[in-house]
Symmetry: C2
Subunit: 241 residues, 2 copies
């Protein structure tokens, strides 16, 4: 059985990958993670039927994954729009944002009020939720306390990255205020909080070397061929691994 | 018709991508380029029939693409070995090498003589040629003047990255001392020197924004779905685009 990670373990694996010993740069990992997110969305929601993707980005690293995914989705022929009400200020964030701007991907200015989100939702076919990642801790702070209900109310299909936004990383949607995604893409390994998730569940982050997989007893499933994602469960079957 | 690039143009596009305006880091571009190389090899040479890949890396950026490709090939289930007789000393090179070591990918020590290459070839099923890229200028210097003939003599199938090693970037294999690859993976756009290449020809580097594609009149073909590579020509048909 695949291992479901606590927030602390997820953090530890990330740190090891980017330590001097692991030798990965954040640019590399974010590029592969974001690509996996974009490919998951493309697998679940065809470009000809769901062309307009609202990519919702949080202020942390997961927002960076979202910006990378938005760029790749643009390359795949989708029409992404980035909603990033609280932009991160790390240098990498600025560069990833610039790369989106260079692709002429619309970015909703953070200063605008919640009406801009309402309008964007009206003009979207599917949502990519890259708001909160495994370092999220409740409570949900402004402006996201107003954002999450709007996303749920939109009735648009939602693809969540790693942990649906608003869910506790270990205890899931216990407070009932989190997003209700149709599709989930776990990165590196799934988190404890998504054990009971029902829907299509993918795994991405095909960069964990065997020594780390063994050290943390991850029991990752094999990825098919040269794909960057593997489907763990469809919406009709329980988790395969 | 797709544009075939001079060495100067290829250099210019690379610089624009990594300028403040282009905003890409070398880590990002190398990761996507190396992934495209690995996926090309995996498409042309199945892992169950050609498991042992000798990844030959030069001292420049293309050697870096090779190291990234070696890592991804390891992830895909291949058994890569890295041959890097003249390691680059940029920091990124060291990190990419460490990532390979972490995957327990054998790296032939650079100090060893040409016999180590002979042995490695004997134990390989296919070669990934990431020795010289678009900044190569003849003559071929030691140790590569001995390396290239050995690779050709091995009769192993060869997948070359961007420009087959030993070919002039603009004039091709005019001196007749270059590799004779079966498969070519051009990055960003093909180079003038490979216009007459016969074999399977792929394109990778799905990161060129439209404004650069237009500025340099690249006329890139569409990539299929969410793939990172597109086949330009099979070995039996002329270039499609």
């Amino acid at each position: 059985m695949i291992r479901y990670l606590t927030a602390r373990l997820a953090q530890q694996i990330d740190e090891e990958l980017m330590s001097a010993a692991g030798a990965f740069s954040i640019d590399q990992l974010m590029e592969l993670a974001g690509l996996a997110c974009a490919q998951t969305l493309a697998t679940a929601y065809r470009q000809d039927i769901y062309p307009r993707v609202l990519v919702c980005c949080g202020p942390g690293n997961q927002g960076g994954d979202g910006l990378v995914a938005a760029r790749h989705l643009g390359m795949f022929g989708y029409q992404p729009t980035v909603y990033m009400p609280k932009p991160g200020n790390k240098d990498i964030y600025q560069r990833l944002k610039k790369q989106c701007e260079n692709m002429e991907i619309p970015i909703i200015p953070p200063s605008e009020d919640i009406e801009s989100l309402r309008r964007a939702l009206h003009d979207s076919d599917v949502i990519l939720d890259a708001i909160f990642g495994f370092s999220f801790k409740p409570p949900i702070r402004a402006p996201f306390d107003s954002v999450l209900p709007l996303l749920n109310q939109s009735r648009l299909p939602i693809v969540s990255v790693d942990i649906p936004s608003g869910w506790d990383v270990e205890n899931g949607n216990e407070l009932g205020v989190g997003l209700q995604p149709n599709v989930l893409i776990s990165l590196t390994a799934p988190k404890e909080g998504v054990k009971d998730f029902i829907g299509r569940h993918f795994l991405g982050g095909r960069f964990v070397p065997e020594y780390l997989e063994k050290k943390f007893e991850l029991h990752l499933p094999p990825y098919p061929g040269s794909d960057q994602i593997v489907e763990l469960a469809s919406d009709k079957t329980p988790t395969k691994y």
